[in-house]
């Protein structure tokens, strides 16, 4: 009887404590909207199955540690039934216990051994090998490991070690019980809460990286994220789900090149600020030093919005679109950012001709006239959106010429707008929502007037803007425009093109906004292969690609002087290009070649050809 009362007290106390901790973490006043996204629920559940149950991401990036972790998790699944029966026995009283004879006992014992292997391996890694991405030693991690070891050992001992109903058996039973409840108390107070939060965060993670939410319609106070109270529920979930594994920082190009941005610390600082009852999230480094802000503006403006962190995070945290970029938006909306280059980008884009370089429209006008580009009037099938890259940059123009040749060879009906402004990409990524709304309004009007139905562009940043950002604007969504990156259209056109492929060894640089931002990695490769290319992949490719250094408006706002010895992002990427031994690097974005060219010159390797997939394809057109 006494044991049952004691058991009941323990269970009530630990559940109460668990609930209280959760409440403390989540009771903040936050924005109730935007709601959690619930599109494609089947695919979302499948993602949870892959990433949580099968631990695909965890294992992908760190095979050994990932597998050890998976052993622990799978062991927990196997133990669910054991624990339930353990609880039941607690209520029924220990007198009711019987020797475990079923196959399940053996099965659980086998898993207990697996969990022991896993947890001891992980503990060894954390406390003996001490990889630097894990950060300083955490006593709680040690405690959790100890409790898990205890749980497994006591299970094994209870199963076969001691005879049922002996005193040793009883003591062992209680140690198991207390460890279990202790875990219940420790988990919500530590990063181990990811156990409960990560499946939810993974379920609700957007389909592509770096997604920026629309401002709440009709809410004049929504200026982006300024204060902790501006956070949405998913942000809160993210902030508390972090396991501090450091995967995000390990792949962050800004961090890898010696800059101060550390995506893991951005999340953890927000967690600290939230728990400490902070008000404003971001400010100058001095404000962060004084404790009146938590995330430094300097760090925010180093981000390339490349999405590598989000792609790497095993628990589904969004660092970029809903945190870093939304914090930039908060700073800019209040006019609080003091970075000169950011201000210059905005004042340049504010004025005609509304492009980030401030180059006259005349340049584009001359180009499309000289090249005899057909003007889109609504009768053609495709609007070929040049974007600022193909309008003003000499290499971008070269790509547009190649596109014309391919369009003609494939008899595609197409045209370009007489005049374009910037779609607003660098503005919105740098935090200037107002600028983006201004330019988009005019463009949407023009698209409507010209009856655009299909739009193709060689710029993945523009494609992303039109296909994701603009769709948040009802007027654009109403036009029902299909948006494609040229790699998608070209890949479809391949069968209708007469090609004379020539063998060529090259490597392909996946643009972040194409591979991670749009999920396109196969099409550019099939285009290159049809042209006869043999692709040698770089270590970072596909969805694990490494930024060229231009994203997140960095092409325009990056500071010239970067921390000391470290290499710049583009230099580092170019080293990977060189290591493949290929003479040509293929790209699929107008900004990557600018950055890579700069790196090639720096490395004295101007002999490396940097060509867009469209240029490579156009060269292999027969006749």
């Amino acid at each position: 009887m006494a044991s049952r009362v004691l058991f009941a007290i323990l269970i009530v106390a630990s559940i109460w404590y668990f609930a209280r901790t959760i409440y403390r973490r989540f009771h903040y006043k936050i924005q109730s909207i935007p709601a959690f996204p619930f599109d494609h629920p089947g695919a979302r559940f499948w993602r949870v199955f892959l990433e949580v149950v099968l631990q695909s991401r965890v294992i992908r990036d760190r095979p050994v540690a990932g597998l050890l972790h998976a052993l622990v998790l799978w062991g927990f699944f196997a133990f669910a039934w054991v624990s339930l029966r353990h609880m039941a026995l607690g209520f029924r009283g220990l007198e009711a216990a019987e020797r475990e004879e079923s196959w399940y006992g053996l099965f659980a014992a086998a898993w207990a051994v697996a969990v022991l292997v896993g947890i001891l391996g992980l503990t060894f890694r954390r406390f003996a090998l001490r990889p630097k991405e894990l950060g300083p030693l955490s006593p709680t991690s040690g405690l959790v490991s100890a409790l898990i070891v205890l749980l497994m050992l006591t299970y094994l001992l209870g199963w076969r070690g001691f005879g049922v109903h002996t005193t040793a058996w009883r003591a062992n039973w209680w140690v198991h019980t207390v460890s279990f409840f202790a875990l219940l108390v420790v988990i919500p107070q530590s990063k181990h809460l990811h156990l409960a939060l990560s499946p939810v965060a993974i379920f609700f993670r957007p389909w592509n990286t770096s997604s920026i939410r629309p401002l709440r319609a009709g809410d004049d106070d929504d200026l982006g994220i300024v204060r902790f109270t501006d956070l949405a529920p998913k942000d809160l979930l993210d902030i508390h789900a972090c396991v501090e594994c450091g995967r995000c920082t390990q792949v962050c190009p800004a961090n890898l090149t010696g800059q101060s941005l550390n995506p893991k610390e951005v999340i953890l600082q927000m967690q600290r600020g939230l728990m400490a009852g902070g008000a404003v999230i971001s400010g100058t480094p001095e404000e962060v030093g004084r404790g009146t802000a938590w995330v430094s503006e300097e760090d925010l403006y180093q981000c390339l919005s490349c999405g590598a962190c989000e792609e790497a995070c095993p628990v589904g945290i969004e660092h970029v679109g809903s945190k870093i970029l939304d914090l930039r938006r908060g700073l800019v909306s209040e006019g609080r950012t003091n970075k000169p280059k950011v201000g210059s980008l905005f004042t340049t884009m504010e004025r005609t001709p509304h492009n980030p370089w401030g180059v006259s429209q005349e340049t584009r006008r001359k180009f499309i006239t000289a090249e005899r580009f057909p003007i889109f009037d609504g009768s053609q099938e495709w609007l070929f959106w040049l974007g600022c890259g193909a309008s003003y940059d000499p290499h971008g123009q070269e790509v547009a010429r190649a596109m014309k040749r391919i369009f003609e060879a494939a008899r595609v009906s197409w045209g370009v707008l007489e005049a374009e402004t910037c779609c607003g990409e660098p503005g919105r990524r740098a935090g200037n929502e107002y600028l983006y709304l201004q330019v988009s309004e005019k463009l949407i009007e023009a698209f409507g007037q010209k009856k655009v139905k299909k739009l193709v562009t060689s710029d993945p940043h523009c494609a992303r803007m039109f296909d994701v950002d603009y769709r948040q604007i009802p007027e654009f969504e109403g036009l029902g425009i299909r948006v494609e990156h040229h790699s998608e259209l070209l890949a479809r056109l391949l069968p209708s093109l007469a090609l004379s492929p020539a063998r060529e060894s090259l490597t392909y640089h996946d643009p972040c906004y194409l591979a991670r931002g749009r999920g396109i990695t196969r099409e550019p490769r099939s285009i290159l292969e049809s042209a006869g290319a043999e692709i040698t992949e770089m270590p970072h490719h596909g969805k694990q690609t490494f930024c060229c250094g231009a994203g997140g408006a960095q092409l325009f706002i990056a500071e010239d002087v970067r921390g000391g010895e470290e290499k710049r992002v583009n230099h580092r990427r170019f080293e990977e290009v060189l290591a493949t031994g290929a003479q040509t690097v293929a790209v699929a974005c107008p900004y990557c070649p600018i950055m890579l060219k700069d790196a090639a010159t720096h490395a004295g390797r101007d002999d490396i050809a940097i060509l867009d997939i469209a240029e490579i394809l156009a060269r292999r057109l027969s006749g």
Binding site: V332, G343, F346, T347, E350, T352, S360, N432
Partner: protein
């Protein structure tokens, strides 16, 4: 300090200009307009002075109805209120008459400083500011690089030719024509736009101000310059070419 900033709205810098039917100005349809760029530096200087010394920035614009958007932009960037002298004729009026309209509106304000841009991007006369100062009976200085407040007045830095500068001390009230590029203009913010909605934008007609807009100067004709350059290639052996060149210089170009 109460600071008046005069703004003009001009065709956007990059516009394709077409001459209107009367052949006296550019066709305004399908043009977009923005704040005259030199005036943006005057506005920025005004806002900075206000932030430093306190006071108020009032923007005054003499222009047609479309010019209201220029004032609203200035309000969004931080000006406190706006006065729009509205009349379609103001779209292409001469400096003197425009200055009279501006003076009539500004006189009603007890100002310390009037700031203008150095010139307009469309007509480029650089006259409105100095005439306005004369009409207001205030001292003025042009091509201002720097403004410092002092006891009982201001000290300004003027840009002269060939890298020379001049420092001038002057009493207030005064008018300054600000040199372009002396400051870094601020960007428009969402918060600014939202705040601007509640700021005062007063519309007045020239008639209400008692100003007659009869122009003092009329543009008779606007036309694209005729090609006047002629290039000829002289070919042949050097000796012959030299002889031909000499002949042409003597008899055709008449420079020898």
């Amino acid at each position: 300090m109460k600071i008046i900033v005069c703004l003009k709205q001009v065709p956007a810098r990059d516009s394709v200009l077409r001459i209107d039917d009367a052949q006296a100005w550019v066709r305004e349809t399908d043009l977009s307009f923005e704040i005259n760029e030199p005036d943006t530096y005057a506005l920025e200087e005004g806002l900075r002075l206000k932030e430093k010394h306190g006071g108020e920035v009032v923007v005054v614009c003499a222009g047609p109805a479309r010019a209201a958007s220029a004032i609203r932009e200035a309000l969004a960037k931080g000006a406190d209120r706006g006065i729009h002298i509205e009349d379609e004729a103001l779209a292409r009026l001469d400096s003197f008459t425009t200055a009279r309209a501006l003076a009539a509106a500004i006189r009603a304000e007890s100002f310390d400083l009037v700031l203008t841009g150095l010139q307009s991007d469309d007509l480029g006369f650089s006259q409105t500011g100095v005439i306005l100062a004369e009409l207001l009976g205030a001292p003025h200085a042009t091509i201002i690089m720097e403004v410092q407040k002092m006891e009982g007045g201001i000290k300004v830095k003027r840009e002269l030719e060939a890298g020379w500068f001049q420092y001038v001390e002057m009493p207030l009230p005064a008018l300054l024509a600000i040199q372009s590029g002396i400051n870094k203009v601020r960007y428009a913010t969402l918060m600014g736009i939202k705040k601007a909605k509640t700021k005062e934008l007063k519309r007045v007609t020239p008639a209400e101000l008692g100003v007659d807009l009869k122009p003092r100067q009329i543009i008779r004709r606007v036309y694209a310059p005729q090609k006047s350059k002629q290039t000829q290639f002289l070919e042949g052996p050097p000796k012959e070419v030299a002889a031909k060149l000499l002949e042409k210089l003597k008899f055709e170009a008449r420079v020898l």
